[in-house]
């Protein structure tokens, strides 16, 4: 029988302290108060003063309420029964289903030994040409989607969740608007993808501490499924909210802020989550796509900036499209040599032409005369944006490559494209004079 402590010494923000002995760092406590019960975890020990952060927030907790220590760290249940279910940041059901209490695993486990990692080798097909063709997503990659509030990043994630060729989707929502949560749930249910999805959702109205737990919960479960041979894709939205939750906690704990109020360990905290992406030799893999909204569209803001140093490239979502400039999958070179012989050449060629189209656009807006070449580019740019960049396009890579050739042939003569002659001979969809 565990001892019950019934004198809370201090309540600051979401952190309470009690005097207790024999408590371990990281251990869970159960706080009973008028509003019900809440879990809390030990974040600091100072002699017999134990600091706990209360998951449901410290609102309404009185100094006379009870704390009972459970002797175990934060855990999450892991089994196939999780599929199709929705949980909150503490692992309690959000969907009126049964609570999961069996087969518990610890969250925030140790890092993978770098000596056991392998060079990434498999692409993940998403059906989105802007990803598959131009910036291929690779198994075990960690990629953020840099965006600004108002952009359809959640729509994009939902599409990827539906279309991506993986065994399992784990969605971690942090600070989601309730509408967005419902959107995810309904969209995935309608498409039938819910049966291969597990959701850990923290909405904007839920307590901040739960937000901090979401990535760890999602990634701990993902890691376990990967060890069991599953190809897991973890979608996290929005990591900026996660960073802001960390900021809030750090300030509550009187930590000295380093940059715009964020704690000094922002980089390490983000990295330890993103680095959970891994390809286990002989088993499955974890791939991470996370949304990072950039306050004020500023990429030098601490959250996108630190993220950029951690991840293997980034997708820029701007104006409802994945921007070809600035977006980069650092690992695409590992896989796009083995897809189809024209993949790399077409990828480079089409982007170069699209860049020229942008120049022509600029010239036109400044009132310059449009040459015949400019007209070709303008037609090309329009087709490219409608047929390739639109987020609703869902075609396999091969079809996207064929479509690419069609667009080129619609707009240009073979020699205009700058592509290799042998490729043009083999792939040009029209007769070549």
């Amino acid at each position: 029988m565990q001892k019950i402590y019934s004198k809370i010494e201090s309540i600051v923000g979401n952190v309470i302290t009690v005097r207790a002995s024999g408590v371990k760092n990281g251990e869970l406590g159960l706080v009973s108060y008028k509003g019900g019960q809440s879990m809390a975890n030990v974040i600091k020990l100072d002699d017999d003063v134990v600091s706990l952060q209360v998951f449901s927030g410290a609102q309404g907790i009185s100094t006379g309420d009870q704390v009972r220590f459970l002797g175990v760290p934060m855990q999450v249940s892991y089994s196939d029964n999780l599929l199709g279910r929705v949980f909150d940041g503490t692992g309690s059901p959000r969907d009126n289903g049964p609570a999961m209490k069996t087969n518990l695993i610890e969250i925030g486990g140790p890092a993978v030994n770098p000596a056991k990692r392998i060079i990434p080798r498999n692409m993940i097909r998403t059906g989105l040409p802007m990803i598959d063709l131009f910036n291929t997503l690779v198994e075990s990659q960690k990629l953020p989607i840099f965006s600004v509030s108002g952009e359809p990043y959640n729509e994009l994630l939902a599409r990827i969740a539906i279309q991506a060729e993986v065994d399992l989707i784990i969605l971690g929502g942090m600070g989601l608007k309730y509408d967005d949560y419902l959107f995810f749930r309904d969209t995935l249910e309608e498409s039938g993808a819910m049966s291969r999805t597990i959701m850990f959702i923290h909405t904007a109205s839920d307590p901040t501490v739960e937000c901090l737990l979401v990535p760890d919960m999602a990634l701990a479960v993902a890691e376990r499924f990967a060890l069991d041979g599953k190809k897991v894709l973890v979608l996290l939205t929005d990591m900026t909210n996660f960073a802001d939750a960390m900021k809030e906690m750090a300030i509550t704990m009187d930590q000295v802020p380093s940059n715009r109020g964020y704690p000094g360990d922002l980089y390490s905290s983000l990295a330890s989550r993103y680095e959970k992406a891994v390809d286990f030799e002989g088993a499955g893999s974890v791939t991470i796509l996370g949304v990072t909204t950039m306050p004020g569209d500023d990429v030098t803001h601490p959250v996108p900036d630190n993220t950029g140093y951690i991840t293997e490239g980034q997708y820029y979502l701007k104006g409802g499209r994945i921007e070809p400039f600035g977006s980069l999958s650092r690992l695409k070179q590992q896989v796009n040599a083995h897809t189809r012989d024209d993949h790399r050449a077409l990828m480079d060629g089409m982007i170069k032409l699209y860049a020229s189209y942008k120049e022509s656009l600029e010239k036109r807006s400044m009132g310059f005369m449009m040459t015949e070449w400019d007209e070709k580019l303008l037609k090309y740019g329009d087709l490219f944006e409608r047929k390739m960049m639109d987020l609703s396009v869902n075609i396999p890579l091969e079809a996207a490559l064929d479509l690419g050739w069609e667009i080129l042939a619609d707009c240009f003569d073979p020699a205009d494209t700058g592509l290799r002659t042998d490729l043009i001979r083999a792939r040009w969809p029209k007769a070549i004079e």
């Binding site: 002995s21 024999g22 408590v23 371990k24 760092n25 990281g26 251990e27 600091k44 020990l45 100072d46 002699d47 017999d48 760290p73 925030g108 486990g109 140790p110 890092a111 993978v112 030994n113 770098p114 000596a115 056991k116 990692r117 392998i118 060079i119 990434p120 075990s140 060890l227 930590q255 000295v256 802020p257 380093s258 940059n259 704690p263 000094g264 360990d265 980089y267 390490s268 990295a271 330890s272 680095e275 959970k276 286990f280 030098t300 803001h301 601490p302 900036d305 630190n306 950029g308 140093y309 951690i310 293997e312 490239g313 980069l328 690992l331």
Partner: protein, 578 residues
């Protein structure tokens, strides 16, 4: 001195407060007993009978009252034959062996022997009765490419030591006693091939430090010619993410003209280290014809590994570098990234509740960075040979802005600055070292006066380019336009280098001298043009030829053919004198 014991009084992240019973030293190592795990930590502050222990592992499960055992030893590394080719974490734990024992994950509290239990073919150099002091060689073994000297442990300073006995030539286990020494006071030591040395203490067993005057050839043109690095010197490579810092370091680690390369992957992506781990054993070192891995040591403490051992990892790396320097070898230490190391210091400082400096970095940030880079150097050893440690560190400034504490503190103490710019990497100009802002205080492989002239053309071209943006091409004189094109040519042909091309990826000094001479002649040539379109057409053609030239093997027929084409092309526009 009896070992001190203690008990845990408080836990805050990876800082544990310990109440101890008898004397302990700063930087002494202690182990916390948590269940059946022992967690390693280092004493970083002592107040009264309470010590702050920086723990190198995650501290989940640590409770007040847990036993702490101090070792009365400072945080140290093992030194001896068998270090080469190893992959260590920041505390010198061999990662492949750890993987064999613990599987996919880094299990905490498992510390393996850093030096593998091998046998070595041992050749004594000293004989019974010889008088030695700390750092003197008493035997050698052959470790791959090198003659590894077995030295009297560096901490045996109460010498001189007389050899009481030494084993005959033969094969011995690395931890066997192979030699016994005794000093005048009768103190005796049994020596094996392995000893330890505290990582935060520089090894100073040399006659004198020399000025770093010899160029360290990296086979990267823009570095060797314009922004050279010297053996025994220091340099830093700051740049925003995606500018190619790590790629540049990997290229350097492959091609650098040194004996041993130590890569300290400090707080960066694990995937990048994996590339090195998997590629290096396959790559052939052109200098030796052997696998590159044979001259490489990797210290790997990636971003998701515990922060405190990240702090230790750069010291581990530099200590191993200094050890090999004592054998008269040239070592290059590449640290990626020193910002992550500085951040580790910041985290710890925050937990110690120290008064923060700029951006919450501790006030001692600058002195720590200076201390670290000052461990580089070229030295003359007691036997007259020289050895060197060169340190190159990347810096990851927040937001790509160099006006931040780590970059600024680093710039104060390094001899060369290779600043990478977002503009150049966006324009796919690699290496993205900015020729306008970077500098070096070392001498390169080409006559400094000529390099300065070439550089001044790059500067002039940049100014003209800025002006052209305002006044347009129309408002620029032909002469200025020619200068601008010359500058662009230097950039495209000489400063940029294609690391994917088998020829262009590494350019030996001889070739650099040869092609720089041609380029220099071109820059000096007195060219005559009527109008700008003519200038543009000429330089486009010239640039194409020069670029093709970069992809041909040195002095083969095609190389000479292109050279002739360039000479002819220039002659068509050259103003005859007289």
């Amino acid at each position: 001195m009896a070992k001190s014991m203690g008990r845990v009084k408080g836990v805050n992240g990876n800082m544990v407060t310990v109440e101890f019973d008898s004397a302990i030293a700063k930087n002494e190592v202690g182990f916390i007993q948590v269940g059946d795990e022992r967690l390693k930590g280092e004493v970083i502050r002592i107040r009264g009978n309470e010590a702050a222990l920086q723990v190198f592992e995650m501290t989940g499960g640590v409770a007040v009252g847990d036993q702490v055992e101090f070792t009365s030893e400072m945080l140290s590394v093992e030194l001896g034959p068998g270090l080469l080719q190893q992959i260590y974490d920041g505390l010198q734990n061999p990662l492949p062996e750890l993987a064999a024992q613990c599987g996919f994950f880094l299990q905490r509290g498992v510390y393996l022997k850093p030096i593998p239990d091998n046998e070595w073919q041992f050749t004594p150099v000293a004989k019974k009765g010889d008088v030695l002091s700390a750092g003197d060689t008493f035997a050698t073994v052959i470790e791959g490419l090198f003659t590894h000297q077995i030295m009297v442990p560096f901490d045996l300073v109460d010498g001189p030591w007389t050899v009481a006995s030494i084993k005959k030539a033969g094969t011995y286990h690395v931890r066997d006693t192979i030699c016994s020494v005794q000093n005048e006071r009768g103190v005796k030591h049994d020596l094996s091939m392995v000893f330890t040395w505290p990582v935060k203490q520089a090894i100073k067993l040399y006659e004198e430090r020399l000025r770093p005057t010899e160029t360290l050839v990296t086979k990267i043109r823009t570095i060797d010619t314009f922004l050279p690095v010297a053996k025994g010197g220091t340099y830093c490579t700051p740049g925003p993410f995606g500018a190619g810092k790590t790629v540049l370091q990997h290229l350097t680690s492959r091609n650098a003209d040194v004996d041993i390369v130590i890569i300290a992957a400090c707080g960066e992506r694990a995937g990048e280290v994996v590339e090195v781990l998997k590629e290096f054993p396959e790559l052939i070192d052109p200098r030796t014809g052997r696998s590159l891995m044979e001259r490489t040591i990797i210290i790997c403490n990636t971003s998701s590994m515990p922060v405190a051992s990240r702090e230790a990892s750069v010291y581990t790396a530099v200590t191993i570098a200094e050890y090999y320097r004592q054998m008269g070898l040239d070592i290059l230490l590449l640290a990626d990234s020193t910002s992550r190391w500085a951040q580790a210091m910041r985290e710890m400082s925050g937990r110690l509740e120290e008064i923060p400096g700029e951006e919450a970095f501790p006030a001692y940030l600058e002195s720590r960075i200076a201390e670290f880079y000052e461990r580089a150097g070229k030295v003359r050893l007691k036997d007259g040979r020289t050895g060197s440690v060169t340190i190159g560190g990347t810096v990851s400034p927040a937001g790509g802005n160099f006006e931040e504490p780590v970059t600024q503190a680093t710039l104060k103490v390094v001899g060369a600055f290779h600043g990478l710019s977002r503009e150049r990497s966006d324009a796919r100009k690699y290496p993205a070292i900015d020729p306008l802002t970077s500098w070096s205080k070392y001498s390169g492989v080409i006559d400094a006066k000529r390099v300065e002239e070439a550089r001044s053309i790059v500067f002039a071209a940049n100014e003209i380019n800025q002006m052209m943006k305002v006044v347009g091409e129309e408002g620029t004189s032909v002469a200025d336009y020619v200068t601008y094109q010359k500058g662009e040519l230097v950039d495209a042909f000489y400063l940029q280098q294609n690391s994917f091309d088998p020829v262009d990826a590494s350019v030996p000094v001889e070739r650099q001298r040869y092609i720089f001479d041609r380029l220099y002649e071109m820059l000096q040539a007195n060219l005559r043009f009527e109008e700008k379109s003519e200038v543009r057409a000429f330089f486009y053609q010239l640039r194409q030829n020069f670029l093709d030239w970069n992809n041909t093997a040195f002095l083969d027929d095609e190389f000479k053919a292109i050279e002739a084409k360039i000479t002819d092309l220039i002659a068509t526009k050259e103003r005859r004198v007289g």
